[in-house]
Amino acid sequence: MKKLLNFLLLFATLLLFWVWLNGSLAADVLIIGVISAFIIALLFRDSLAVFSGLNPTPRALGYSVLYVFFFIKELIKSNISLAAIVLSPKLPINPGIVKVRTRLKSPMGRLLLANSITLTPGTLTVELEGEWLYIHWVTVESTDINAATARIVAGFEQYLEVMYD
């Protein structure tokens, strides 16, 4: 049952990708898309789709939208802070690799968390191992695990926790 669900999710993702690539909904495009998406989904049964593990509740959907906005805000903020660092003549950096904790379990959620952390102010995920994330921080504000977790991870985790369980 779970396998079938995964297959269907993958198939739907691939079909969406196909229609998006072609930019049309004509009958011939759809027929070829269904065939090729089916074959590829069959070959990659144990693969992941964006939606696999996503909770099918309205609350999760709402949080996904909020997550996107939060992410865009953080991305722009991060670039402005980076610009401030790069453009200042003294290069005020204070780098280090800190260790933080995450509660997420679903692979897709963890990957999205790591990617989001990399694109947000001054942080870069170096290693993800079990519940520990090792993060390179341009301006280290705290080397304590809990303080750093609250500073770096918590913002995204509150959304991702609802989206992926």
Partner: protein
């Protein structure tokens, strides 16, 4: 010392030839006769929007058959040469483990890359790209799988079957063109349809898809045989 001198002399000679070519070159302002024919007749005769594809698959189809054969030979020779004298027993290969990020990322991305490859070769007659590019993209997807799991063994039988099946169908379609249309590899065994639609241009999408599968299988087998070769100390 004398060797370096001869090298420089040789390069100076070639450079002089190149310079004279460059300075006497006058760009054309009109298409030459061949190109003019292709430009004027492709849309009405072949029905393909991408003229380069029309040339590769139909006008110069035989050359492409030869090219695919050369590639096939190259990939089988690479496999043969690398497997010569290899010890059959599997030594344990202590490669550094893959991080979780790459595993998850590749599990997500590999199907999408495959589908991108399919898109590139199915749309060969409409957009840039075609069988060779699509095949290379499919092989890149295989490479991603190999990177995420270095000890994975691809089924060589599957790759070889796919390769020979598409090669045979390609030649069969060519022969079909001999009977049902103007000549070997003629694409008009199917109706040419309207210019710019996905199913149009006769057999070109079909032929290019077969070429794409074949080329993808060949490149994948090259990568797989290089990856499965034992390390030298």
């Amino acid at each position: 010392m004398i060797k370096r001198f001869i090298t420089l002399l040789l390069l100076a000679g070639i450079g002089a030839i190149f310079a004279s070519l460059l300075f006497t070159y006058v760009p054309d302002s009109e298409l030459n006769r061949t190109a003019d024919y292709y430009a004027g007749h492709t849309a009405s005769d072949i029905g393909a929007a991408n003229i380069v594809t029309a040339i590769i698959v139909t006008y110069r189809g035989l050359d492409t058959l030869g090219e695919v054969t050369v590639l096939f030979l190259a990939s089988s020779i690479v496999g043969l040469v690398l497997s010569l004298g290899q010890k059959q027993h599997k030594t344990q290969r202590n490669r550094v483990a893959v991080g979780e990020l790459l595993t998850t990322g590749s599990r997500f991305l590999a199907p999408l890359i495959m589908l991108l490859g399919v898109y590139v070769f199915v749309n060969g007659h409409l957009t840039p790209g075609g069988g060779f590019q699509g095949g290379a993209i499919i092989a890149s997807g295989m490479l991603l799988l190999l990177l995420a799991d270095p000890l994975r063994h691809f089924s060589h039988t599957l790759i070889a079957t796919l390769e020979s099946f598409s090669g045979l169908s390609y030649v069969a379609l060519g022969v079909l063109g001999l009977f049902m249309a103007g000549g070997f590899l003629d694409n008009r065994i199917l109706p040419t349809g309207t210019l710019g639609e996905l199913i149009s241009a006769g057999a070109i999408p079909l032929i290019y898809s077969l070429i794409g599968l074949k080329v993808g299988a060949e490149f994948s087998s090259m990568l797989a045989s290089l990856s499965e070769t034992e390390d030298l100390k």
